[in-house]
């Protein structure tokens, strides 16, 4: 097998040194009753060519771009990925390197992540960011746990019901064993969070609002800040579409304490939902509470500038059972991809793409309205919005799939009161023609 270099000669010589008669003898200390009784039942190994055919066939059974136009966001967004990103990231010195625990030979990764930390805090208006988390849902859960730990007397957190449904599920999973509870804030008729019930709550450690929220609506984060400050609780905010902050006022502007986000829109492919990029960032005062790796700048013995992983005493390999999180491996390579993306689009590019996303989504909205859809929420949105479908849409949507068009995501299963409501997304990837075709087909 091409990954296994040992020849019979090699094996013979090596066994001579170890003093074993055969490879099987190497396992002689394993008690007989622990040994397997039969060979594993796995498919016959494939050659490279057979593998290509097999995987091409599996891949062809998925309705993905470019054969399909999928007008769905909901936490995973179709965007142009500049070709230099996969090209640069596939350099094996980045891809096959380990965690930079030996900094002298890992300055590539370390400077790359330091630059990511810098650019992402710039984008979000925050002061310190970790080297990545798994995704927004897990990062958001960690953010809430930070608040609960710091506000020791309180055991509940208030989370908007317009935070991504899957994120709220993750939060519940993370909070459950410690007995912490999540209370949900309802939505208002305009598609944003109703904060009024917060007034009566005096045992919560944090309030979390996603913006743009699951409906795509831009929340009034200034209002959330006011309420959080008045109650002296943590103001946590999250986002699933990072490109929104190429256009919108960022969370730092509103004084968010901790921000959790999904960075997949920054040059990372959707890949059926993962791996993405969890972003966890906050104001400076919480740096020692943040879980995950941090790259810091320093000098070497010769006085040369360099980078190291730092504040490691927060982490599991030192704190062990006292660690605030167990995270070890992160999504580092995707943080590098996001850094390359931000460097590629730059200050002006990111605004132009974000603006274009918004333009396309507005255009899609108006075309759908012409086709008989109603827009239930009046609040401005970035690149996705909810539309109530006219009679007979479900059948049309089904038929459109065969034409390679996926027209929105039905959100009834997440919000039962919103019967026949669909979440639509349009990005810079969709042409005017794509959108007009969709509108024409669903009329």
């Amino acid at each position: 097998m091409r990954y296994l270099p040992h020849t019979d000669q090699d094996i013979k010589q090596m066994l001579a040194r170890t003093g074993h008669a055969s490879l099987d003898d190497l396992f002689s200390t394993i008690p007989e009753e622990c040994r397997v009784k039969r060979e594993m039942c796995l498919p016959k190994p494939m050659t490279e060519w057979e593998l290509n055919d097999h995987m091409a066939e599996l891949a062809s059974k998925n309705g993905a771009s470019p054969s399909h136009r999928v007008f769905i966001g909901a936490g995973s967004y179709p965007h142009h990925i500049p070709s230099i990103i996969p090209y640069l990231i596939s350099r094996s010195e980045f891809m096959t390197a380990y965690t930079p625990y030996q900094p002298e030979i890992s300055q590539g990764t370390l400077q790359g992540i330091y630059e990511f930390q810098t650019m992402i805090t710039e984008l979000l208006g925050t002061e310190v960011a970790t080297a990545s988390h798994y995704d927004c849902g897990t990062a958001l859960s960690e953010a809430l746990l930070i608040a609960l730990r710091k506000k020791k007397r309180f055991s509940r957190v208030a989370v908007s019901s317009l935070v991504h449904p899957h994120h709220r599920e993750i939060i519940r999973t993370y909070l459950a064993p410690s007995g912490y509870q999540m209370v949900e804030l309802p939505g208002r008729a305009d598609g944003t969070t109703d904060l009024s019930s917060l007034d009566a709550m005096d045992d919560i450690a944090a309030v979390a609002v996603q913006s743009p929220n699951f409906f795509g609506c831009i929340e009034n984060l200034g209002k959330v800040k006011e309420v959080a400050e008045a109650k002296d609780i943590f103001f946590v905010t999250s986002f699933t579409e990072a490109l929104a902050y190429g256009l919108l006022k960022n969370p730092g502007h509103f004084g968010a304490d901790i921000v959790a986000g999904e960075g997949q829109s920054l040059g990372i492919d959707q890949s059926f939902g993962g791996p993405g990029l969890g972003i966890l960032t906050s104001s400076k005062q919480y740096v020692r509470d943040l879980p995950g790796r941090l790259v810091g700048r320093t000098k070497d013995r010769r006085g040369e500038d360099g980078f190291v992983l730092t504040l490691s005493t927060r982490e599991q390999h030192i704190k062990r059972e006292k660690a605030s999180s167990n995270i070890c491996s992160n999504n580092g390579l995707n943080a590098m991809k996001a850094a390359i993306y931000m460097a590629t689009v730059g200050k002006v590019g990111i605004r132009r793409i974000a603006q274009l996303n918004h333009d396309k989504a507005i255009f899609l909205k108006s075309k759908l309205q012409e086709a008989g859809f109603e827009i239930p929420f009046s609040t401005p949105f970035f690149n996705e919005f909810v539309a109530k479908a006219p009679e007979g849409f479900a059948a049309k949507r089904e038929a459109l799939k065969k034409k390679g068009i996926v027209a929105g995501l039905n959100i009834e299963r997440y919000y039962p009161a919103l019967e026949n409501h669909y979440l639509f997304c349009a990005t810079e990837l969709f042409s005017r023609e794509d959108i007009e075709t969709l509108a024409r087909e669903v009329k």
Partner: protein, 132 residues
Amino acid sequence: MKEISELNLPENLKYSDDHEWAGVDGDVVTVGIDDYAQDQLGEVVFVELPEVGTTFSRGDQFGTVESVKAVSEIYTPVSGEVVETNLALADAPELVNNSPYENGWIIRIKADDLSELDNLKDKAAYLAMLKG
């Protein structure tokens, strides 16, 4: 690492089994970590301090002292209320290494019961424990 004979352990202080020292002035007890602890820990990078006004019982953890690769919990030898913490440590945690008994003190606690200090060892008894 220093040999036991090289350790600096002022006579007028008392020592706990987990290598903290306590000095008394009226009913205020000053607490820090001793020369053995700072030597074992290595260069201190951060000291986590409690808030002034917090009350502790004898033996409670009141903070941590961190080096690059290790974290040490620190425990109060007496019950009482924290009246002062050494804020200089925020910018200069190395004071714990360079001057563990003077500029590197960590907290001052108003003791509820000074007799609790009898649980600590004097220099001779502490040295005996280290050697033993």
